[in-house]
Symmetry: C2
Subunit: 179 residues, 2 copies
């Protein structure tokens, strides 16, 4: 950030009075520009014993498989955002169920929220950001071609819980990848 | 938002190619300025059968009581943010436990995440944003002087669960207040 989005002047980085963190502050109009973490919301779409995955058509991780998920938008709830992303990436309609996992990624200022979801029909297919969309049995999950560690962690917890016959909420922190 | 924070030119509102939402876009440098919901993270600090509340020294809702909570910052996890807010608002050190409630407030683009937490000592007191800080038994909670509906919903669920002898995760959407 270089310029004030309110008045167009150059911003400076300073700790505002009474604050504890350095912020981008406009010396002309006084606006403090806060920057906060973003939420990624998505689903684990279930159809009988299968899970729907999308192969990414965009970077990062083009060509690898992911659960449908993306940045939460203003004006929606977490569950609405998760359903919207599932529709956009997989043209799939779901009934969103319980919150299943929360992953903190503080090194990139993101929080992942993944919901269990019931696929309502088999009329799905790749959206603009997907190369292909398919249902996978546990034994067929492409573990070595998953796009994100959040997706791998969610799927490993999911299948573990399913074998135990009991789904529980999972929360964990994900460290930066090894250099 | 009027000006591009990257290059200082005036922005326009348009739906970028391949996007589904109108965004602030800079016609000069091409930067798309996304705006996303923010997370409020906080705790339910427990000491024996009592809960710690803070009376707000700042607007909105100055003079009313709240659980310690505030905007999550970049570079921290949800639990770290909840502990930091508890330290800032109540000078209170806590061990953060389970995620207890998630409230969606889509009309103001906020998601509240409240954690159960164990107060580590009684050496607490008002931070800069609090007028006073105190421990309350359930019967003494100032229900008609609580600052936010998210706080009331969290406390009502908490005491209900405690009477049942079983805490479970709560998720709900909070509609705009009646006009």
């Amino acid at each position: 950030m270089n310029f004030c989005s309110q008045c167009g002047n150059r911003v400076v980085i300073t700790v505002p009075p009474g604050d504890t963190h350095p912020r981008h502050v406009c010396p002309a109009c006084g606006t403090i520009h806060y920057q906060n973490p973003k939420m990624i919301v998505g689903t684990i779409p279930e159809w009988e014993s299968k899970i729907l995955l999308c192969r990414r058509a965009i970077d990062p991780k083009r060509g690898l498989w992911t659960l449908p998920a993306g940045f939460m938008e203003n004006g929606e709830t977490t569950a609405q955002g998760a359903a919207r992303e599932t529709l956009e990436e997989a043209n799939a309609r779901v009934e969103v169920g319980e919150l299943y996992s929360l992953y903190n990624l503080p090194h990139i200022n993101q929080v992942y929220l993944m919901f269990r979801a019931r696929l309502l029909d088999l009329d799905f297919g790749p959206g603009a950001e997907s190369l292909e969309v398919a249902l996978f049995e546990e034994k067929d999950i492409p573990w070595d071609r998953l796009a994100f560690r959040t997706v791998e962690a969610t799927l490993r917890a999911y299948f573990h819980d399913r074998r135990q016959g009991r789904f529980r909420f999972h929360m964990a922190d994900i460290a930066p990848p090894p250099k």
